[in-house]
């Protein structure tokens, strides 16, 4: 298919990106890896008048460590680069190794993915479970947004007009901690019909002392599963309490229904995958 006409700018610095966004306002769309935007444009479901390509902005790529010890990953870093890097975050490595196919992993970017906030994308669940923060620059300056505040609703984020996600920060996993991602994929698209990410930390006796669990694909947007997290506190590895905690995964949630899976099946998968991902994260928390 052929997209409608658009103007194309290739920016080379963050400042240039911000000024182009300022200049073109609502007409402008940021082009990162392009795996969601370009198909939309080709099908003419999106027809932005201006594309600002941020692929050549060197500052937006790569890894560094910030003052509080968090790992900072530039927004334009690809899934493949993340999977290949030694981030020490198992769930992140895992999700960046299984998303899409090789071509997608070589093009898709962490910043583009989280900004797009597709309800069936894998990465938002992992970013929630790993307590990521988004580094955002925009007309009002620079700010940090915790992942949970960043996701506002179905395909909606806290990004204001003119804003750009420049990096994603992950706090270190810490000792005696582990994380994992489990997914049931749509056999056609490969997106998550249901995906659950978990991070746990164990105390000196091996009991869970801290836990974050997040769901994607099964509801309108990725979100934390607080009832599960609360029920997990103090649980031992291998205990029946883990399944009881996982059984709380559906509490208060409205599950999606489509031709591939109805809400009942998604609710069930959420329970099963939550249990499986918790077991896996706990095994890793040695």
């Amino acid at each position: 298919m052929y997209p409608a006409k658009f103007d194309y700018y290739q920016a080379t610095s963050v400042d240039e990106v911000l000024s182009l966004l300022q200049q073109h306002g609502e007409d402008a769309k940021i082009l990162a890896g392009g795996h969601s935007l370009i198909p939309m444009m080709k099908l003419r479901l999106a027809s932005p008048a201006v594309l600002v390509d941020i692929g050549q902005v060197a500052d937006l790529r790569g890894f560094s460590t910030v003052a509080d010890g968090s790992l900072r990953i530039g927004a334009m870093t690809t899934y493949h680069e993340i999977a290949d890097a030694n981030t020490g975050l198992d769930a992140l490595t895992e999700v960046c190794s299984i998303m899409g196919d090789l071509q997608v992993r070589n093009r898709g970017t962490i910043g583009g993915n989280l900004s797009h906030n597709d309800p069936a994308a894998d990465l938002p669940a992992v970013a929630l479970a790993l307590d990521a923060q988004l580094e955002i620059r925009g007309p009002s300056g620079e700010r940090l947004a915790p992942m949970e505040e960043f996701i506002v609703g179905l395909m909606e984020t806290a990004l204001a007009p003119g804003d750009l996600v420049v990096a994603v920060r992950f706090p270190p996993s810490g000792p005696a901690s582990g994380s994992a991602y489990e997914k049931f994929e749509n056999p056609a698209s490969g997106y998550a019909i249901c995906g659950v990410a978990a991070w746990v930390r164990r105390d000196g006796t091996g009991r869970i002392e801290s836990c974050r669990v997040a769901l994607t694909g099964a509801a309108d947007y990725a979100q934390r599963l607080r009832p599960v997290e609360e029920a997990m506190m103090g649980q031992q590895a291998g205990s029946e309490g883990i399944d009881a905690a996982a059984a709380k995964a559906g509490e208060g949630l409205q599950f999606l229904s489509d031709i591939h899976a109805d809400d009942v099946y998604r609710a069930h998968l959420t329970h099963v995958l939550t249990r499986r991902v918790l077991q896996k994260a706990i095994e890793r928390a040695q």
């Binding site: 969601s36 309800p119 749509n186 229904s257």
Partner: protein, 816 residues
């Protein structure tokens, strides 16, 4: 030299494909070329009140905009149906529809512009005033009271009815049956998904009045014939149709499509080269779909398991119009195969071809034969279960014995050859059937859902004796042509009417010719897919290239050898019957004197210098043959699989898969294995993942690769593949078709395994595709579970909630 039959020669065409150097229609660039885009109906059924193209015409870069009426005024004809069963009502189908559209994707307006970008911009400026009409989607509901008529002149939406078999004997068989198995089942609609979407380029020469059309067709000669005689009116001698490299078809590129008329018509109208390339989204809405049967079947048996009768009633969904060969598929390629591998003395098959507001349905890999095999092999499995017999034992009890071939079934076909016991012996041995049945018992005791599925399938390949085809409704013959043009240097150019769009003819056909003439394979060039070079041909479908196209090559080669012998006899001063043509060396000598031989190239040179030829013999060494097969060939197969279902999620894991196929003699085992493996994965796609899903308004919900699940490699185990060989007795190569057997057998081999796994839960039958969601719901329902059941279930086991903000548009967009 020679001895190429049975050799696994690597495909000679692959280097150019692997390096991205194939020449496809979309690769063609002709100076001054314009681009066509088609406006398609967003409604499944609507009256067109008016069309306003003014704004589109005014757009800078738009050359012209045409409606259906303008094409009709300009002389285009209706798209014909090439298979006419008795009393068939063929609905009108124009290249662009005029006052009514009947499926989402139906073509309405054509734009031609300086670039494809402008053409698509112009589509957005066309205003069509549609009056939506009620729709009918489901073949079962077409005749219900109050259901809309897809075509006003066709009552009850029934285009034709067809039946075959011995009705009275079948009724008697059921009257005296000791056991009857009854089953209602659906063979779901599939979408072909050839890797290369359809495309067409046309070039008109206003001075010679010659048209060249490049089109992604499996059969360029029949397309030229239809264009000349029905749709475009350009005489055959002025019309050249070329199908260059074509990236797969699976049947969907057999048919004559609207764009093949629109594109050359516009090229002549504006006197410029014109190109159209289908997008993947358009492919989903316009390539003919496959399958889509609803069937009620009954099998009559004796208590000991002997089959005594089979009665089948099928409602076949033909879509909104009859595609080129649509009526062939559920009649002469379906009901004729209902005997399977078995002696069933009485069979009565009835079917109704129904019209609905969906994309037309036609041949898709297997075409009718997978539907027959699925039905028969599901029935046999259920019969075994009900009689408490092992499914293999029940099959063996009813096999046509090897010494009864040729075997006449009650449904027209005369099976040529086979040895089904030997076939099963080999497959069961490779699979380790008895041991795996034992371990299945142990697994079941642990509560695991492990199933073993056996399928014994038959195919009729290589259509067909032309006379039989004519009697069954064909408007064409089904022979094949070949020309062997030996050049003065002894090299050969071979023209075949078969068409390769993935089958590997450039290799296998060269093997046949080199073998027949004792040549080096590198001295043989295969030409296909061009009406300007190949005299005529019927193309490739129905696994016919080897048995029909290959046999034509043999016949032409025999003529070349005969003439070469005449020349050699004359030059060596011997009698023709004393000349030995040694096909292993390519040399000719007088019996008893091999040392004094003449090479094939020497003879060829002599044929062209013509200095010393026998009196009355014409110079040159070029021979042609038209081969009309004496019968179909009947490949057969035994595929066995083991699956385990994850009780918690409903996912199917394929653990073992064994395939033994009898495709007769084999020209190139590597190519045959590729065909079988490709067929198996396509067949498993139908069993587990693929389905065209329409909502009640006739919108195709599975309209992209985001929602239509072509299976991925991760789904599959390693396949254990081998062959048995019973040569076809009636073609000179002894070959049978190999292109579709994998697809035919795999679907039911997997479906039977899944149902076997669920048997302990009391689940008798589920419709395909057997998705995780559907299986999980079934397991819940069966085991008492939590009582949670899906409502408004879709074929994929999910729910279709059109009013729900289930983010359909967002999810569908990521297809291209």
């Amino acid at each position: 030299m020679g001895n190429y039959m049975g050799e696994s020669i690597k495909r000679r065409e692959d280097p150019r494909f692997i390096q991205g150097k194939g020449k496809y229609v979309a690769n063609l660039h002709i100076p001054n070329m314009a681009h066509v885009a088609i406006l398609r109906s967003p409604y499944a059924h609507a009256r067109i009140r008016s069309i306003n193209t003014d704004a589109a015409k005014a757009l800078d870069g738009v050359i012209a905009v045409y409606t259906g009426q303008e094409l009709i005024d300009g002389g285009v004809g209706k798209l014909p149906c090439g298979w006419n069963v008795p009393d068939i009502k063929v609905p009108d189908r124009w290249p662009l529809m005029v006052d009514r559209v009947r499926h989402v994707g139906d073509s309405v307006v054509a734009v031609v512009a300086e670039s494809p970008y402008i053409a698509y911009d112009a589509l957005e400026l066309i205003e069509v005033d549609y009056e939506p009409l009620p729709v009918v989607i489901d073949a079962r509901k077409t005749t219900e009271p109050g259901v809309p008529l897809v075509h006003d002149e066709i009552p009850d939406n029934i285009s034709y009815a067809w039946a075959l078999g011995n009705k009275d004997e079948t009724e008697q068989a059921f009257a005296s049956a000791e056991h009857v198995v009854e089953l209602e089942l659906i063979n779901q609609r599939l979408i072909p998904n050839a890797m290369e979407p359809r495309a067409a380029v046309a070039q008109w020469d206003a001075y010679t009045e010659e048209m060249t059309l490049w089109t992604t067709s499996q059969n360029p000669h029949p397309i030229r014939l239809l264009l000349s005689a029905f749709t475009l009116g350009i005489p055959e001698q002025k019309l050249r149709v070329i199908s260059p490299d074509v990236g797969g078809g699976f049947g969907s590129k057999i048919f004559h499509y609207p764009e093949e008329v629109i594109v050359p018509w516009i090229a002549r109208e504006i006197n410029r080269p014109v190109k159209w390339v289908c997008s993947r989204s358009e492919s989903y809405l316009t390539d003919s779909h496959g399958r889509d049967h609803v069937t009620v079947a009954r099998l009559a048996l004796k208590k000991d398991g002997t089959f005594t009768g089979l009665h089948v009633q099928t409602w076949s969904n033909q879509g909104a119009y009859l595609s080129t060969f649509a009526p062939l598929i559920p009649t002469a390629l379906y009901i004729t195969l209902l005997s399977g591998l078995y002696k069933i003395p009485a069979i009565w098959g009835e079917m109704w071809g129904t019209l609905t507001n969906t994309v037309p349905v036609d041949a898709y890999r297997g075409a009718g034969r997978p539907e027959a095999s699925y039905l028969v092999e599901r029935l046999v499995d259920i019969a075994a279960q009900e009689l408490g017999m092992d499914p293999v034992e029940l099959r063996r009890k009813n096999f046509i014995p090897a010494d009864e071939f040729p075997y006449q079934t009650p449904v027209a076909f005369l099976y040529d050859s086979g040895d089904y016991h030997r076939l099963f012996d080999k497959a069961l041995g490779m699979f380790g059937y008895d041991a795996l049945r034992e371990s299945q018992k142990a697994a079941r005791e642990q509560g695991r859902l492990v199933g073993i599925g056996v399928a014994g399938c038959i195919e009729a390949s290589g259509p067909a004796p032309s006379q039989v085809a004519g009697a069954l409704g064909a408007a064409v013959g089904f022979w094949e042509s070949a020309v062997i043009r030996v050049h003065p240097t002894g090299k050969a150019t071979v023209l075949t009417g078969s068409h390769s769009h993935g089958q590997g003819h450039e290799t296998t056909f060269a093997q046949v010719v080199a073998d027949q003439l004792g040549m080096d394979i590198n001295d043989v060039e295969i030409v296909h897919g061009d009406t300007g070079r190949v005299p005529f041909g019927m193309g490739t479908y129905g696994s016919r290239s080897g048995c029909v196209g290959g046999s034509a090559l043999v016949r032409a080669a025999e003529k070349v050898r005969a003439k070469a012998i005449k020349i050699a006899a004359h030059q060596m001063e011997a009698a023709e019957e004393d000349i030995v043509y040694d096909r292993t060396t390519g040399k000719l000598h007088v019996k008893g004197s091999p040392a004094h031989a003449k090479g094939f190239a020497e003879i060829a040179f002599a044929a062209y210098t013509a200095h010393n030829l026998p009196a009355g013999l014409e110079p040159g060494l070029e021979e042609s043959a038209f081969y009309d097969p004496a019968n179909f060939t009947f490949p057969n197969s035994c595929h066995i699989s083991q699956v385990e279902i994850d009780r918690e999620t409903g996912e199917v894991h394929i653990q073992h898969y064994t395939a033994v196929d009898d495709v007769g003699n084999v020209i190139n085992p590597l190519v045959v294995e590729g065909q079988i493996l490709g067929g198996i994965v396509q067949g498993i796609g139908q069993a587990l993942t693929e389905a065209a899903v329409y909502d009640e308004a006739g919108q195709l919900l599975s309209g992209s690769m985001m929602d239509y699940a072509v299976p991925k490699a991760m789904l599959f185990p390693m396949f254990d593949v081998d062959r048995t060989v019973t040569p076809s007795p009636h073609n000179p190569l002894g070959v049978k078709g190999a292109g579709e057997m994998g697809t035919i057998a795999a679907t039911v081999a997997i479906a039977n395994a899944v149902m076997d796994a669920l048997a302990p839960l009391g689940i008798r039958h589920l419709e395909m595709p057997l998705t995780a969601s559907k299986l999980w719901h079934a397991i819940q329902g069966a085991s008492g579970g939590n009582g949670m059941q899906a409502t408004n279930e879709t074929p994929l086991g999910g729910r279709d909630e059109p009013g729900d903000p289930a983010n359909w548009p967002e999810r569908q967009i990521l297809s291209d």
